[in-house]
Symmetry: C2
Subunit: 494 residues, 2 copies
């Protein structure tokens, strides 16, 4: 008899019944070629003794194997591995060795698209640090979680819950949320659209992904700032886009450069963050806004307007998005609740011409099937009851104070080593470090003291040696900022 016991390991702690474990073990041995077609299996009594189990267990095993077609039982002769099975080259009986090959860890010959290691830098582990100068994340201790949880619960308890738990046919997103959003966008930023111009997505990243997949084809020219939100650049490249960069100054991206490029090349789209450019936080000036809209109309390119932190503006009112002045449908506008509620709740939205929204929603059918219907409904209710505004009003006051406190602190403690402009809005300060400071080393020294600070590479897509980074201030209270600054100062002085 073959060494079945060393081939098939039973686990008495497993919740899988012993007879199923045995059957599965025998199936694997047949698959591996150790039990060949036509082989006679031991009698049930023999195998029961061998494994020290009840004979009925072996009978159940054989019945299961026969039902699945792996073995054939011939009355009065016994059980045989099915002769219909193809012959396989046997592997070693050495279980130890086999386990190394089997668990799906071999390198693959069919990966056709590989991303660079850079991608991992785009998912920094800042939450694992005690203090963090993040990219500009809100303080989640202030997040309106109890409000969201209450609304969520009432959605689950509602009469329609069972319907809402099913697949939805509304690929553009929950209609209540789209209605509330149409109202909200009109009231907060003068964008007047219908529900059919709005698609709810899982955060603004998904908005860009769907947009660029539809708008770009291989080799399409896209204009971006020399400094730019790196993830957006990757999304455009993934969709086939060829990136053309233009300088960014204190007024935002250089629109005159855009005009020159348009004269020479067919441009498909431009990606901008006019409200607070990422990473430098500057606002696009009024005349550049108008000029850009005119260029888009004349040369027929799409403006993808990223407005991820519209709500966070401290000086005068937030500036109106380009989308609010769009006369012909050249602007696609992407916003998000990730920062106003919490990043874990992936709710963003795209506002665009209806036919573009239609195509995006069809693509979504194949990306994630549908959005989070229950969460969307809960957020619709929060909007309707004014809870998002109420929270934002409170949060904005806190972040305004923190910005002022932080900028004073930064000037006082590191004024000799850094340059920065107090930002009009947003949750981070764009900070240029003295050339003598090696930011990679500084970042490492800080990490050793439990402080996260991104080094310059994170914000420098085309390698301009900016020696700059974003110092997110919003997620820390004043004591934490002081402690973080102390660590940073020590890192600089050493």
């Amino acid at each position: 008899m073959l060494p079945y016991k060393s081939m098939i390991k039973l686990d008495s702690n497993s919740r899988m019944p012993i007879y199923v474990q045995l059957a599965n073990g025998i199936i694997k041995e047949i698959s591996c070629g150790n039990l060949v077609p036509g082989l006679k299996l031991p009698g049930s009594r023999t195998l029961a003794n061998h494994f020290e189990v009840h004979r009925k267990t072996i009978i159940a095993t054989y019945e299961e194997l026969e039902a699945q077609g792996w073995i054939e039982t011939v009355p009065a002769k016994g059980s045989f591995v099915s002769k219909k099975m193809p012959v396989t080259k046997a592997q070693s009986f050495n279980v130890q060795k086999r386990e190394i090959i089997s668990p799906l860890q071999t390198s693959l010959f069919f990966i056709k698209k590989r991303f660079s290691e850079d991608v991992n830098e785009m998912v920094p582990k800042f939450t694992t640090f005690k203090y963090q100068f993040d990219d500009g994340v809100p303080d989640l201790r202030l997040a309106p979680i109890h409000v969201l949880a209450r609304q969520y619960k009432s959605v689950l308890n509602s009469k329609l819950a069972a319907k809402k738990l099913n697949y939805t046919h509304d690929l553009k997103g929950n209609i209540s949320l789209r209605k509330e959003l149409a109202k909200y966008l009109s009231e907060t930023r003068s964008i007047n659209v219908t529900t059919e111009n709005i698609m709810i997505v899982r955060g603004s990243i998904m908005g860009f992904y769907l947009l660029f997949q539809i708008i770009l084809e291989k080799g399409s020219n896209v204009i971006v700032g020399e400094t730019n939100f790196k993830a957006a650049n990757e999304i455009m490249k993934n969709a086939g886009g060829k990136l053309i960069t233009v300088p960014v100054d204190g007024q935002g991206i250089d629109v005159e450069r855009v005009a020159e490029i348009c004269k020479k090349k067919k441009i498909r789209a431009i990606y901008i963050v006019p409200h607070h450019h990422h990473p430098t936080t500057v606002s696009l000036s009024a005349e550049r806004r108008m000029k850009l809209l005119q260029l888009a109309e004349r040369y027929k390119f799409a403006i993808i307007e990223d407005d991820y932190d519209y709500d966070f503006h401290y000086e005068s009112s937030p500036i109106l998005p380009l989308a609010s002045s769009d006369r012909v449908g050249v602007v696609s506008y992407v916003g998000s609740f990730s920062k106003s509620i919490a990043p874990a709740f992936r709710i963003g939205f795209v506002v665009a011409p209806e036919d573009l929204i239609d195509e995006m929603s069809k693509l979504r059918r194949f990306v994630d099937r549908q959005g989070d219907v229950l969460l969307e409904q809960a957020i619709a209710m929060m909007l309707e009851e004014g809870e998002v505004r109420r929270h934002m009003r409170k949060a904005l006051k806190t972040y305004h104070q923190r910005r002022d406190f932080f900028c004073d602190l930064l000037q006082r403690e590191l004024g000799d080593f850094v340059e920065f402009k107090k930002p009009d809005g947003g949750l981070a300060v764009w900070t240029k470090f003295d050339k003598k400071i090696n930011m990679t080393k500084l970042s490492e020294a800080a990490a050793a003291q439990n402080l996260y600070i991104a080094d310059s590479r994170r914000y420098d897509p085309i390698g301009k040696e900016l020696n700059s980074t974003r110092l997110g201030f919003a997620s820390m209270n004043e004591n934490e900022m002081r402690a973080a600054m102390k660590i940073l100062k020590r890192g600089i002085k050493n």
Copy 2:
């Protein structure tokens, strides 16, 4: 003075302050070219009278406009539209007409990829009907929502909640869920892998999307059944795949045909549902399974194994997935909790070689940034406490009874008009209707009586005139099934 009041409509019910409404109105008029660069704006007193608002409101408006760079105020001379603005061709003063052009509804010149209208058929509106023969959806009245809600709440209330509300760096998904899943997959289906072989996705659709985006390039050959899950076909095509179809019979897909194709062409991947083929519900026979694995090893193609309803098997134990016999890493296995918990909770998983999982997780960074961390944690806790198994045990008993009841009912009531085989598992019966029955008409007649039944086209990707459909039985109780059958019978007899 220009007719400002007819150009700018103030809304006293809006939550946007009047001075901001006025500023936004003026910005739009500048953008549209109705207020030209250098134009002198009315004095604050004059405009205040014109709009019947307080003079301070107009002063605030002008301050706002100046802060944003739209106007310039010259002491003792007044306020002027900034001369830096580019000149724009003016639009009509007629507000009515303007509103038609402005709200982002114009047709676009930059949509580069269009989906066919078929996509809308892949999102049927069955939840809007009183009775439905759906594709095989569980009864959501039985969904373990109170259990999930309890776990979800305890995640939100936990000390670590604030960290979990932030961005995560774990693109493969919550590590607790991946650990529980590794255990669960080993115990329920003999797939032995580490957490690094697992990626949590938003339902199996997203698993296929990410997999095929990484595995396929333009023109890659992919084998699928002649009848097949249509959405999967679309996902493969979207990733560049060229589909080659093979027949499907009572033993599953024709593996001999696969072998013949491999001799002639380079095949990149095969997509199969070996447990219960979609739509026909047949299981792939044991010898075909072995043969297929051998072919994949020899010809180096990827097997994408869709096991969306592993948990729903009534006769003997569920058949082990191909992934459990994979020796070299050719199988990528995709499963889901959408059917065992509820479709609205988008939790699926991919089990694959580690380097493939790595690439998929990098792509996800640009698709939706990250998964639903809180939900993943809640489901990890449900798995850990055995709540998923407990629910499935109960649900399976109900669905087993419903299958038996439904198949009896179908035979008794429509035996003369349909052919079907009682399925060993799954939540739907693949049913062939007599040729004389026009299924499109039948589907319409049923819809008029509040019963959803898909016509044959939904399951017939290559137009074989199957005159067959899936009759999902699980979402209806016995009374509902009787009522639905009555409607269907009436539709056939008329």
